[in-house]
Amino acid sequence: MKYAFFPGCSLESTGWDFDRSTRAVCRALGIDLVDIPDWVCCGSTPAHTTNASLSVALPVMNLQKAKEMGLPVLTACASCYARLRTANHTVLNDPEERGRAERVTGKPYDGRVEVRHLLDVLVNDLGVDAVREKVRRPLKGMKVACYYGCLLTRPPDIVAFDNAEHPSCMDRLLTAIGAEPVEWPYKTECCGASLSITRSEIVNRLSHRLLSMARQAGADCLAVACPLCESNLDLRQADAVKAHGAIPETPVLYVTQFLGLALGLSSGDVGLEALTVSAESLLAGIGRDQ
């Protein structure tokens, strides 16, 4: 299994632990990632709320590079994933927009380079059984709320590899590595995304709602697959608690950090030191680094 890897900006800054753990887990599972050379920002929300041509052209620049590599694209960031898939959808279905994207990038593109999310590949190509076979340190008794957020499953006609309102891919993966995902109703509720910068009080309210619901459902920690979800729930957890009331400290890990630990990787291999709320309490239950 070989993919053109699109890390995205967050994975080389605020979410470097997502980058490190994604690469480590893929290596352990035999998934070969080749970085797209000189990849560029997908434009994220600022592009699609500012300039429609730009919001298609930036992802297309990367897809054109992947086409030259002759490989399907794999990405871990939920937001990059949604922007790359949306650009493909637009180019495929709207000849006018395709013409615009080709004029803006100065190169042809037919919208047909396949874009996959890491979770999609793990669950639907590799399969949870193959993951289960490689587990060296089952995350026994670990109660996790799998938080999918917005863009892994929405809008479903563009991104979907899972159910839009009740996704289960992360739950299935975590079950395979011995953890106990809890049932909870806020799997796809929004954390407020980039409003964290412009309107942090809204993100505090939403993060608090998510964290307290996860706790009420019996979870000790959360699994995420988006750098913005991670930072809103982890880095901003203290602010949320200060504004809206006490919740026990709740570690928020990338799904790849859970996977890496179960595959026998060390906490350093998956970048646990990047977390604001320490995952130490979780590690105590599954034994120290091997």
Binding site: T14, V40, A47, T50, M61, T105, R154, G192, I197
Partner: protein, 186 residues
């Protein structure tokens, strides 16, 4: 039928439908979008109300509202709309129209953030977070929110002091220029 005539003369509705490529006029006010909107409690105008105001041609009231800037683009409304209206894209189109028409933005932070972010991408090909945040703080004059987090993030390696430029940064700058020209032709 005076109603029909009025409807057809609603240039605001037509413009929003053309730009967003989605049938805003199909909204029959079921309010499913507003019910599931995570930002609803912070909005004066809920998304279904925005749809209705567009029907009524209330251009200025919509474009000047802070609510179009509060949308987090979570796409819950788009996913759930029974009439397949891409409400999140309508919000994008409204923001672009508000900026183009230079209406008075009640809370310009959303626009200031977008500008700071995109400026960083056009220079480096990727976002340089620290530079972007400094540019945003200067624009918004909001110096204190999260100031304490910068040190913490630097210590954890989450922010770098220098941009990690893409080798395609120059091509990205050209793409920005051409994308702006394309938008003017829309």
């Amino acid at each position: 039928m005076p109603d029909t005539l009025e409807w057809q003369n609603n240039t605001f509705l037509k413009e929003v439908e053309r730009r967003s490529g989605t049938p805003v006029s199909a909204c029959f006010q079921c309010h499913k979008c507003s019910t599931g909107c995570p930002i609803g409690p912070d909005m004066d105008l809920l998304s279904s109300q925005v749809m209705r105001m567009i029907h009524l041609g209330e251009e200025l009231q919509v474009l000047e509202s802070q609510d179009i800037w509060l949308c987090a683009s979570c796409e819950a409304c788009t996913t759930r709309c029974p009439m397949q209206i891409d409400i999140a894209v309508v919000m994008d189109s409204l923001r672009m129209m508000a900026v183009e028409r230079k209406v008075e933005l009640p809370n310009a932070r959303g626009e200031q953030f977008n500008r700071s972010f995109l400026q960083s991408v056009s220079r480096n090909g990727r976002v340089f977070e620290l530079g972007m945040m400094v540019a945003y703080k200067l624009r918004s004059r909001d110096f204190f929110t999260d100031a304490e987090k910068t040190g913490q993030m630097l210590a954890k390696g989450k922010l770098s002091l220098l941009p990690k430029k893409s080798g395609s940064a120059r091509a990205v700058a050209d793409v920005f220029r051409r994308a702006e020209e394309e938008e003017k032709k829309r």
